[in-house]
Symmetry: D2
Subunit: 454 residues, 4 copies
């Protein structure tokens, strides 16, 4: 019996039903139903035999979901109703007791929190795996020089290891962010009822413990209105994907003929339908391309929640598809980045040649003048003048004649040629976090420590 | 034979393959392949018998796609390859000629343009249908007074018909916007080759005519790099969905006990899993909630295209899922808005009572003073003072005593009470586009004209 | 001397210069320059007299910035250059030593981190202030009944205090989020040089301590490429603003004639330029309207960083305007929400009348049946049937005759009327986090504890 | 006199006042006030002398605004009130008649439409200017070969002119889009009153003509609720900026040492604060970086309008800052792109060398086989195999021995070497829109025609 005299229209169901995507919450639905039923019996709200019958039916549903044999019925608008229907079919009238002291509002919030928590953990694991791949890659290419770029212009030489480790620290931050996401799923919504609490003396702390929640939500209205943890997950995912997009973008660049710094394994590249010679870095391009998708999912949910009066509104059903796709996309990307990098090859010769560009030593020449007493800003001006002369005359810096140097500054002298010839530009970056080998070795130790299981 | 020595990794395929969503382009793929083959033969690039064999195979694929019997193979990374594979299986070696003078780059751009065009037309049709429903609703509730709101405060009375017609003009603009989208799909990409044109003397104008394109793209590089028409579609869809979100939001408000202006049909409402009395306006809420989803799809594609070097990059594969979901969502929403409104009931009594609030006549009282020679700004001040007195004394305006009026302005007199009593506030809005009945009748005629098939 | 032979074009400067907005970093720039200079001298990189001269000049600049007497010159493209220029003018040639072992890349990253940290602390303070206002408001309206809504339909009665406290828990989470933002600004970028570290043996840990950083960035490339902390701030701000938008939206609703639950103070409302009677909740509307602005700032920065190769790129200059406006907007909103709520008045009568709607007791009637042994799902059906009958017959639930009840379920009996009459619906919500007074008192204690200064 | 007993709080004004940005609407405000006053007199709503007095005062305000001598008063919350206040000060009591039959709601909508229209025209002009610069650049580099890229991999050679022209067609589309924006500002909102029309028999068509509107809005509620034209402007601007971001991104790439295809003029580049050798493409980077800013402005306004009930709500004040900044940013970018390209230099040698990569002829070799009867898909496989062999043996294609060719396909023969040696790969792209010189000349004619003033 319902208060309605007409069944829902097809057009309404097309808009309204969520079963086509929320089936993914099935396992969480069963898990929390089992905890709920156990608690109801422990509190004397249902009987022991009722609990056993419900638990048996739920166990059967769990099995059906896992094995893919769970069948949907025409009227199932969402997975919660589908499971309750099936429990009823398996257990008879007692099935109607499953929803005692519970509503879809707190139920859905709980399951979404469980999904978020599981996938935040998954992201942490996958990020660590990728970071370790980068650490190992850095170790294998410890002293391979390459140009460091600012504005995509060669700026100063660095070691490839140093460059790769930059991504490790991004992933370390990503892991911390997902740790906060786990914390954000801490308070259990279940037990909040529709919005006001329930008419039964439930034991929410017990259910929280059973389901891995750290606490119990403090306010029933907030409990069913809150999707902050989804926002937190989506923001963490968008930031992580943005990091991967920078990595992807660099691999695309480095794979070009012009850079020629790396080669992807054939198994991580694509051909062309028309150009037989092409080997395209599709995986790297897609790593780059997926970040806006995740950002968009975050924007979508901010949009849905914007200005929404409390408590639960149907609008909040729009939290699920962005979340599910974000988790799938992020996990696919983290795995693909790992696979792509685990099989990549770098070209030492090409990188080293690019890093030998004498202009990259200009700062070191200026610093030479600083050490000889000239203020940095003046030294910068002297060297800029020399660069300008060299560029205009089509020469490299070391082609400049001693009298040209003398005219620029009497402080330069032969040391000028030594700085250029020495190629010690990398090892001079001795400051903490700098690119000298000793500092990189220190960094590798710290990176391994940061990634060690807690 | 391929230039690659390794097959693609599973993790790569998970990221890279598009067959799980681009199967939707199948019918367009066949259609353009048939036009392409006809052209190749007409230009002497393939023979007549080759054309016939290919066309037969394509006809068979078309049939299989339509009947759902088309089978995917394990290696199919996208629908284009799947169809070419199937054509090969059906026609033998000649199948290898299908891809002559064509690439996936111009092929995909063409099919996406065809999809966009078809769904822009569909949106125009569905928007017209919804607009006509609103026109008819306006006609049936022509002279039902209700409060017009600014800042959600009752401002001035209007007729329900006038309020409903506001949405009609939004939809008329939406239709114009989708008309521009159709135009944006005008130039045919096919024939651009990978990016540079092709080595054959093709007849692109013929293919354009066959496939319903208005012209031929002028620059092969632009042709394969361009997704403006998808942006245009997504922007039009986001704007239309934003209009629907305002409509949905108002229906939610009006369905509340506090407003009580309308009742949804049972077939367009939901119950609660826990509260037996609830009748929830889920359809209206979801109309409201879908707009951020479409906006997000637009943002995602802007993000993907941002800073992307020419010409085709794999990133552009990310145009499809947002587009497909946008089309599905918008069409579902337009249909649902139509169904919801076609079955809605308004409560004349509740609306009229709300519209009778005397405060809504305050502007009319001020205008009375203007007509009697007082500058508007001074008249506004006089009436504001009366309102303040009335509110402070817990009275309605007509309860104010003649001496109170006299003290405020000698220009008021009995006409003050007449304005309040007359309830002629609606009919006094005689300006073009205003809420007087004559103006609304004029508006209805214009709305019907604007929606008439061209 | 520069390597350039032409001065920048006006059109280039219009696009490129940042002085029109980055002047806000001035105080941070001076602060870090002073710490840098102290460190340079302590490490023997500059002399004591040099340090003193630079520090004196910096002190003068600090004074000029604070007093508004700092003057910009025509060539100042950003605040860093302006300050360095002014230091040079004040100190002579030694001014050229200020930029030793430092670059604009690590300098800007450092100052932006300092700005973020300062404003994350500010947001924590303002959020706590607003939350305390809500706690006090809840205490003053502890037992005022009102309807709780789902889908904007009256669902179950709650106390106003309970509803207001829902926002407190949102703000508690916001404060935790801004705490993470503070942590994200922990590692000091300064000392990373342009990207590779510097040629001097600097003491970064010293500078970190001086400037309030918790540690030193581990990788110089990451240090100048990283803007995660800005993303983190913007995400926290967008989420907080989204909470405020829900609050604003509810105040707009509650201020309407239809709800009539609250009245804003005149000092927090606006009139109309035309309608003398209007009192508009502009502040509440703007609280609602600002959330998309902050979300957009977040989107903008995600967009800028998407696919950006390491290390510093000029694109990153686009981090500042969104950040600055986000901080200003959020702080204005938090303060306005506080002011608006500190002066709001609620209408007990209107709220209580709305909460007395008998339909709100439907769940309680169903729970009565559950307690008498009927499975919840069946009880839900029985009560839904009664609601349907009552609605169809234009009656309230308590108007239903005993035989009608008997027909629906023999378990109901007189208790049915007692439940409806008892108005004990609020006090029956005894579950943890529920709306019964005892639970709310518990909640108030916990909220005060959560907001207590650490 | 106001209905309020308290003046607005400072915190409220900080949130609420718009004068700090809407002063930009000043000139439009005066313009429409003058038209409004003329109409009021013509309709007999005010007298001729009143009109003259108001018009004189408005003329004075216009002069003060243009000369920068207009002074704000402490109470001015927006520019409309400031101007009305000033008109009152200049004209005495008659100033109070200015607001007859008009409200801030229709006034603001009208002025924003005027702003949008003016800047849509401005964007059209600036886009045409940039496009003509590109056309001329293409003409000057008509036959300079360079590699065309897909996936940033060299794909097929094209002429630089062809590549540059791709951007012309994007700008042609942008111009069409801004043309639609102009159309979208067609209907005049003024005369809609607060929302319901006005109590006077106004002549809206006259005002429309005076102010350059094409028609009169059909529905007063829609007139004050509608901001579609701002959305349309922002979408057009975001798309145009996205085009510029792709251009900027390519200039960044091409300016790198690795590509070395172009050099920016010194006046359009920046140095480094630390590295004396650096010449950074800041203008190109900022062209790239601005697109997300404009997209974000669009998102912000979609967010504001989402779910907003009719009619005017204060939230809509949030339309202005995104709009103003979008117009400024877009116009700065279009001008900068023009300036940057007008002074750019290309390096024919570097481009030609890159275009001579034999692998770029692979498709042509495959097409050779097609012409000799082999199906394309088979030909693709044959050439892919040759590429694989060459790459594995570290040879170029023309190093392959005749017997290697023979083994691959007897159809190849000497023609293989001729295709590779011929460098006729560009001229073979004879299809419409292709890169052969004849086709480019045709394209140049069409581009000039498309850009010709209508």
């Amino acid at each position: 019996m319902s208060r309605f005299s007409q069944p829902p229209e097809a057009g309404f169901r097309r808009l309204n039903d969520s079963i086509s995507f929320d089936w993914r919450l099935g396992p969480y639905d069963v898990q929390q139903s089992r905890a709920h039923v156990t608690m109801l019996a422990a509190q004397g709200i249902i009987t022991g035999p009722d609990r056993d019958a419900l638990d048996r039916a739920l166990g059967q549903v769990e099995h059906e979901l896992a094995s893919g044999s769970f069948e949907l019925a025409a009227g199932d608008e969402d997975i919660h109703m589908a499971i309750e229907r099936r429990v009823g079919a398996l257990s008879g009238a007692v099935g109607g007791k499953l929803h005692t002291a519970r509503t879809r509002n707190d139920q859905v919030a709980t399951e979404v929190a469980m999904f978020v928590r599981a996938h935040a953990h998954e992201a942490r694991t996958a990020a660590a795996r990728l970071a370790m791949t980068l650490v190992e890659l850095a170790e294998r290419h410890l002293d391979w020089p390459m140009p460091g770029y600012t504005h995509l212009q060669r700026a100063q030489p660095v070691y490839l290891s140093h460059h790769l480790l930059a991504y490790v620290w991004m992933l370390v931050r990503d892991r911390a962010r997902f740790r906060h996401v786990v914390d954000a799923t801490g308070p259990l919504p279940l037990g909040a009822g529709a919005l006001a609490g329930v008419n039964f003396d439930t034991d929410r702390a017990f259910v929280a413990r059973e389901l891995g929640f750290a606490s119990v939500s403090e306010n029933s209205i907030d409990a069913v209105s809150n999707r902050d943890f989804v926002l937190d997950y989506l923001a963490a995912a968008a930031t992580c994907a943005t990091h991967l997009s920078r990595l992807g973008s660099e691999i695309v660049l480095w794979s070009s003929s012009e850079f020629g710094f790396c080669r992807l394994a054939d198994a991580w590249a694509s051909g062309s339908s028309i150009m037989p010679q092409k080997k395209n870095p599709d995986a790297a391009e897609l790593l780059r391309a997926k970040a806006p998708r995740l950002t968009a999912h975050l924007v979508a949910l901010y949009g849905v929640l914007h200005g929404l009066p409390l408590t639960y509104n149907k609008d909040m059903q729009e939290d699920k598809e962005p979340l599910f796709d974000a988790a799938d996309t992020l996990e696919t990307c983290l795995a693909a980045a790992h696979g792509m990098l685990a099989s990549i090859t770098f070209d030492r010769e090409r990188m080293e040649a690019a890093a030998s560009d004498e202009l990259l030593a200009a700062t070191d020449v200026a610093d030479l003048l600083v050490r000889r007493g000239m203020p940095f800003r003046a030294a910068h001006g002297v060297v800029a003048g020399l660069v300008r002369t060299a560029v205009q005359q089509g020469k490299s810096l070391s082609d400049l004649a001693p009298d040209q140097l003398e005219a620029a500054s009497p402080l330069l002298g032969d040391a000028f040629y030594e700085v250029l010839a020495g190629h010690a530009w990398l090892e001079s970056k001795v400051s903490e976090g700098g690119t000298s080998l000793e500092r990189i070795r220190q960094q590798l130790r710290r990176a391994r420590a940061a990634l060690a299981p807690a």
